[in-house]
């Protein structure tokens, strides 16, 4: 009962956006009450879903998304050494990057941070990422998902070039692809053969989470 209540306090702490010190204290209390780290991780996921929903309803803004993501990352960092041997908090690997021709990275960084805090292993290729770098990363990292972002319209053709490069390398069927960013539309995503379009960071993360267990 004590563990249950402490777990709830951690979950609420994320939604209530408590300080880093406070969330760490709550996680410690949960662990002291013998809560299973995997249950804490489950609570983190639920809390981030709620934060995402409140962002969509415009009750929360970019700042709250970032602060909640930071809290979740703090928790995951605390829990990592306590996970049982063989138990993994990883929900799979995602390769993410701002596509060639574009140097903007706020949206991409936000998606990467949220995925990390949700327990994904994220390989961030940075900005101005050439198609061949995506191909190389898929070969080496074997991710479930490739996520591409751009802010400028100049990046759009490179999303297509990247998907075409994955096809040419025989890797397209091994990964799900998702695209997003200010000029990207659902129709464009369909036109270039991406599996999904995320209209904002929370939607992208929701879609990627929804692919869990259904990966290629």
């Amino acid at each position: 009962m004590k563990a249950q209540s402490a777990l709830k306090d951690v979950e609420r702490g994320i939604v209530d956006l408590v300080t880093s010190d406070e969330i760490r204290a709550r996680v410690k209390m949960a662990l002291d009450a013998k809560a299973d780290p995997m249950d804490i991780i489950g609570g983190v996921r639920k809390a981030l879903d709620e934060v995402g929903e409140r962002y969509e309803k415009k009750e929360f803004f970019l700042m709250e998304l970032i602060v909640a993501g930071n809290l979740a990352t703090d928790i995951m960092n605390m829990l990592k050494p306590r996970l049982k041997a063989g138990a993994s908090s990883s929900r799979g690997r995602v390769v993410i990057g701002t596509v060639q021709g574009d140097l903007h990275d706020i949206g991409k960084n936000l998606v990467a941070a949220m995925l990390t805090s949700l327990g994904y292993e994220v390989t961030d290729l940075g900005v101005d990422t050439k198609p061949e770098r995506f191909v190389e990363a898929v070969k080496n990292e074997k991710p479930r998902v490739v996520a591409m972002s751009c802010l400028l319209t100049v990046g759009l053709p490179y999303m297509k070039t990247t998907i075409d490069a994955l096809k040419a390398a025989g890797l397209r069927d091994k990964v799900k692809t998702i695209v997003g960013g200010r000029p990207v539309t659902k129709d464009y995503a369909k036109e270039i053969g991406a599996d999904a379009y995320g209209s904002d960071a929370t939607e992208a993360v929701k879609i990627i989470s929804g692919w869990e267990g259904k990966g290629r």
């Binding site: 415009k58 970019l62 970032i66 930071n70 140097l103």
Partner: protein, 365 residues
């Protein structure tokens, strides 16, 4: 009525002879295409010093704006004469605010990419820029001299909100604001003091309008909670506006993003709004109806359509902007951001030609 008169009339909420057309920015590749002359990004390999490069590019920009018949041109403050950035092996370099900038060869400009300032302690240790440093007004004075007979001059003063979030990085800024809002208040107040001095200086140097550059919102809404805007950012922005007004010029805020959650507060804080991105839920017709008597509006032909749309779409958007926003004056026709390097120049020209054709007052559309 010359172009400058058109701009000043519209800023005064009156109808000029024709809808004034301008852009807050035109990326260098378009400037090169329009003038047939080369934009210079560095004094390396030229006989010019850094001020020579600044003047060369200002000349190109003025020539470009004259060729396009624009009514107003932006002029930005300069780095001080003795400013020496820290340079890194990957080609990036620092600016006065501790931001690390990266050169973008496609747009021939630089963007803030990383930062040296990660914590409040870093900020306290940073030498705070001196607004009165020699050379600060070099670029503005030069543009005023070259352009003011024909065009109004909009002096760019970067919004403390944008400078601060770029300075701490978005993640760091949000975290510090959440945990230490009083510290961010102090940062914003200090930057506002800088801007207040700068506004006085640029108006004395000949600026006709202040444009507060730097985004405060994104596609889903303001970047931080509206309460922080009411408590910290808007009251300080109002101090900048009041200074501009006391010096006899208007204070116009540029930003991307969905402003609706803070629109009422913002409308009481600024004299005008620039760009009003339709892809971020900004309905310029509705804003004209609700705030058109107090705000000068500048917008909002979709930049996405300038990049990927058809000529017909540009004509339709431009016509609609003029039809709903131009009557009564207080309106400038421009894109919903700037002419990006990847915008189709032929689409940009269609916006200008349509504006000239349909924008004659009184508007009869």
């Amino acid at each position: 009525m010359n172009r400058r008169d058109r701009a000043l009339t519209a800023l005064d909420h009156r109808e000029p002879d024709i809808v004034p057309i301008w852009e807050l920015g035109v990326d260098p590749p378009h400037v090169e295409a329009i003038t047939g002359k080369q934009w210079i990004t560095s004094s390396k390999g030229t006989t010019l010093d850094k001020r020579g490069v600044e003047r060369h590019n200002a000349d190109l920009m003025v020539e470009c704006y004259n060729k396009l018949g624009f009514v107003m041109i932006r002029a930005a403050p300069s780095d001080p004469d003795d400013w020496k950035p820290q340079r890194f092996p990957d080609g990036t370099f620092t600016d006065e605010w501790g931001r690390i900038r990266m050169y973008d060869p496609r747009t021939k400009s630089t963007i803030p990419f990383r930062t040296l300032i990660k914590t409040p302690e870093d900020f306290e240790a940073m030498p705070f820029p001196d607004v009165h440093a020699p050379g600060r007004l070099h670029g503005i004075e030069y543009i005023v001299k070259q352009a003011k007979k024909e065009m109004a001059v909009a002096a760019e003063v970067r919004a403390p909100f944008a400078t601060a979030w770029e300075m701490f990085g978005v993640t760091g800024f949000c975290q510090i604001l959440h945990e230490k809002p009083q510290f961010i208040r102090k940062v914003i107040e200090k930057m506002t003091e800088f801007n207040i001095e700068l506004i006085k200086m640029v108006v004395d140097a000949g600026a006709d309008m202040i444009v507060s550059n730097g985004d405060i919102a994104e596609k889903n809404g303001p970047m931080v909670s509206p309460r922080y805007f009411s408590e910290i950012f808007l009251p300080n922005m109002k101090r900048e506006r009041d200074t501009a007004n006391r010096k006899g010029v208007k204070f116009v805020k540029h930003t991307d993003g969905d402003l609706n959650p803070i629109m009422e507060g913002l409308a009481n804080t600024v004299d005008g709004l620039h760009s009003l991105d339709p892809s971020a839920n900004m309905d310029i017709a509705l804003i004209k109806k609700k705030y058109g008597k107090r705000l000068v509006l500048m917008g909002n032909v979709s930049v996405d359509k300038l990049c990927r749309g058809t000529k017909e779409e540009i004509v339709k958007d431009t016509r609609e902007c003029i039809r709903v926003v131009a009557p009564g004056g207080g309106y400038f026709l421009n894109s919903s951001n700037t002419w990006y390097a990847d915008a189709k120049l032929e689409n940009c020209m269609v916006m200008v030609e349509t504006g000239r054709k349909l924008g004659k007052y009184p508007i009869k559309l």
